[in-house]
């Protein structure tokens, strides 16, 4: 049973690390701000959930698990709020969703 929990936790953490890395690659590859935010949300949601859930399985039932749950809950509540504020501020500042960075630079010339 202990071994089963161990294996599950390692799989979850590895997958979480993989998703976080893919999100990082996405943030570099995507053509403009709004599409980049999709890639960033990949690392903020599934990456954080899998990694913290993996650590929670390692920690077992203890105070550390409660603290990890609080951290995860807080991350999941705040990250969409921050993304939303960022997106609406960028929209107000006149960054157009359908435009690549190159096109924006052309327009601002």
């Amino acid at each position: 049973m202990a071994m089963f929990i161990d294996i599950t936790s390692w799989i979850m953490m590895s997958l979480g690390g993989l998703f976080v890395f893919i999100g990082g690659v996405g943030v570099l590859r995507m053509p403009n701000l709004y599409t980049r935010m999709h890639a960033a949300s990949l690392t903020d949601t599934i990456g954080a959930i899998l990694i913290i859930a993996g650590i929670m399985l390692q920690a077992g039932i203890s105070l550390a698990t409660i603290k990890l749950a609080a951290i995860l809950l807080f991350l999941l509540l705040t990250s969409p709020t921050a993304s939303n504020a960022l997106a609406s501020a960028a929209l107000l500042a006149g960054l157009r969703p359908g435009e690549t960075d190159v096109a924006t630079a052309e327009r601002d010339k």
């Binding site: 893919i22 990949l42 959930i49 603290k67 969409p80 993304s83 969703p97 359908g98």
Partner: protein, 164 residues
């Protein structure tokens, strides 16, 4: 009268929550730390009161089994769309078709609309840009994602969450 009573009850609930959180985190019972804890808990409740946090009926939603059920469904959606977005990022041709759609929220309560907006942002591939008069402006990474969103399952589920 009952309104003022309800506000008092909500303040006490928050205070109890804060005290429990402080004791759990500090784990030390020295007079100085307890005094500091009491001070910060009371200050937080006072500031929240001044912000008008207790005036709106934020506890009206059906918090309980239904919320956990919703979280379970949301987790499934997050996993599905995460796999989708990862595939797009790793594809050398980067097959994205970004577009902006407007979704009408069926739920009238501001908290329900906030839950809907945050759930949309939380799911990779869809991003809430603006909420205005119950109309949510959503940026989608692909046209398939936009179509899935417009089918309105998430909207229905959030609306059901707010019903009592």
């Amino acid at each position: 009268m009952s309104q003022r009573l309800a506000i008092k009850a909500r303040m006490l609930l928050l205070l109890a929550l804060l005290v429990v959180a402080w004791l759990l985190w500090s784990g030390l019972f020295k007079p100085l730390l307890l005094a500091l804890g009491t001070f910060s808990c009371l200050l937080t409740v006072y500031l929240a009161r001044r912000m008008g946090y207790f005036d709106s009926d934020i506890f009206a939603l059906g918090f309980g089994p239904r919320l956990f059920h919703y979280w379970g469904w949301l987790a499934k959606e997050v996993v599905k769309s995460s796999l989708e977005v990862s595939r797009i990022v790793l594809n050398p041709r980067l097959p994205i078709s970004p577009q902006v759609v407007e979704l009408k929220a069926s739920a009238k309560h501001p908290v329900s609309q906030a839950i809907l907006g945050n759930s949309i942002t939380l799911t990779p591939g869809t991003l809430t840009m603006d909420v205005h008069d119950g109309v949510i402006k959503v940026h989608c990474l692909t046209s398939e994602g936009a179509a899935a969103l417009m089918s309105g399952e998430m909207d229905r589920r959030v609306a059901a969450l707010g019903e009592n």
